[in-house]
Amino acid sequence: MFDLTAFVIALLVTAGIGTALGLVLAWGGRRFHVETDPRIQQVEDALPGINCGACGYAGCAAYAEAIVSEGAPMSLCAPGGADTAHAVARVMGAEVEAAEPKLSVTCCQGGHVDMRFDYHGVQDCRAAHVAGQAGGRKACTYGCLGFGTCARACPFGAITMSPERIPVVDWDKCTGCGRCVEVCPRGLNRVDPESYYVFVLCQSHDKGAVVNKLCDRGCIACRRCEKACPFDAIHVIDNLAVIDYTKCTACGKCVEACPKNTIVSFRKQRRARKKAREQAAQAREGAA
């Protein structure tokens, strides 16, 4: 039987308790009011929400707050790229120069190096790096171990392993988030702006004579690049050629001079990418 009185009493009791609590909360809301900028939530909505940390902040929420409260640069989001930077700028009511895309490069060509021993362990570079008293199984103790840890770590699937077991980066997918840099136990990956064209694809600090015997593509510290460079941008430090990108103009003279083809220029590919991007942006603006 439906008891109306009981129904109404129950309703009144619950509503009464709710109302009383609501009034307490309303008072509390006034008393403990904190000014939060509504833009923080809007900026956070404009960010991709991947929480990769490439911007340097602890996730998208933290970066959004930094943008609004501390005036952090608006174009730090690598995966979001130019689109995100513009969206954030729209929220903040400011103009922004989209940061140049950053791309990952692996500084090792893995040239036909002998193995010191058979390795039957966890098929992960970080584990293999520890084997053999932190020398790893390859005769070159600085080179790429080839177990694909960086390929698995890439959130965007941009890294695949070549048949020679060296990582190959697909620059169309790479967002420069830096995960591959973090996971490589030998620090072989580096993320640089797209406008850097010339790279020394070796990280070996072994003496030149040793490298010459071990690897057909390793840096032998012959210094020919150093002598060839008209801008004083490349030096051999500790048996390895190092490029100073503040001085390098990507002229390519060191690339020609290197007898072991250790130094490589990506000028053609990267300029083509930049052109394609600019054309796409122009087409978008033309249509808009």
């Binding site: 129950a10 009791v13 619950t14 308790i17 609501g22 509390g28 403990f32």
Partner: protein, 208 residues
Amino acid sequence: METALVYFQIMFLAVFVQNFVLSKFLGLCPFVGVSKRRSSAFGMGMAVIFVMTLASLITMLIYRGIFLHPRLAQYQLDQYLKIVCFIVVIAALVQFVEMAMHKLAPPLYKSLGIYLPLITTNCAILGVTELNVIRFTGESETLGGAVAKSAVNGIFAGVGFTLALVIMAGIRERLDSAPIPEALRGVPIAFVAAACMALAFFGFAGMV
């Protein structure tokens, strides 16, 4: 007026013998989620103590004062309105704590993050209020006595929760630098440690 022994009994039960986390396994979500650092663990514990105490007080008042009121007893409100009203009270209290903390202790508010509003769904809070209803609504209980005992139970249930949480945080801070196998790092080893703690607290069983 009951002797002080009864209150001591309530206190000892709530903190050690029937610790809400380690004996009853309630409130495990914030227990595992906030126990990474001692500072945030302590802050969370304080928030839980506050909510548990006030929730126990208010819900016992509502239960004895409204549901079991002689004039409303015929409608048997305590049978079906209990959980709904208790949850409403707890949710409002947690909202209040959130607002107050956001204003008065912003760093703690930030470090607790999502776990602060999660206190609402923390079954330990509802557990305390339900337990009070079961234990302190006998025929011989005065309203004042029931409310006082509920409040004490609430305070020390919170204290027990904080104790377990802070000890856990201390253990987990040390586990960070211990050689734990990769597969067990993080939450798995935390649960193993919690199980060991629960076994240890089992030693208090039967004392009161």
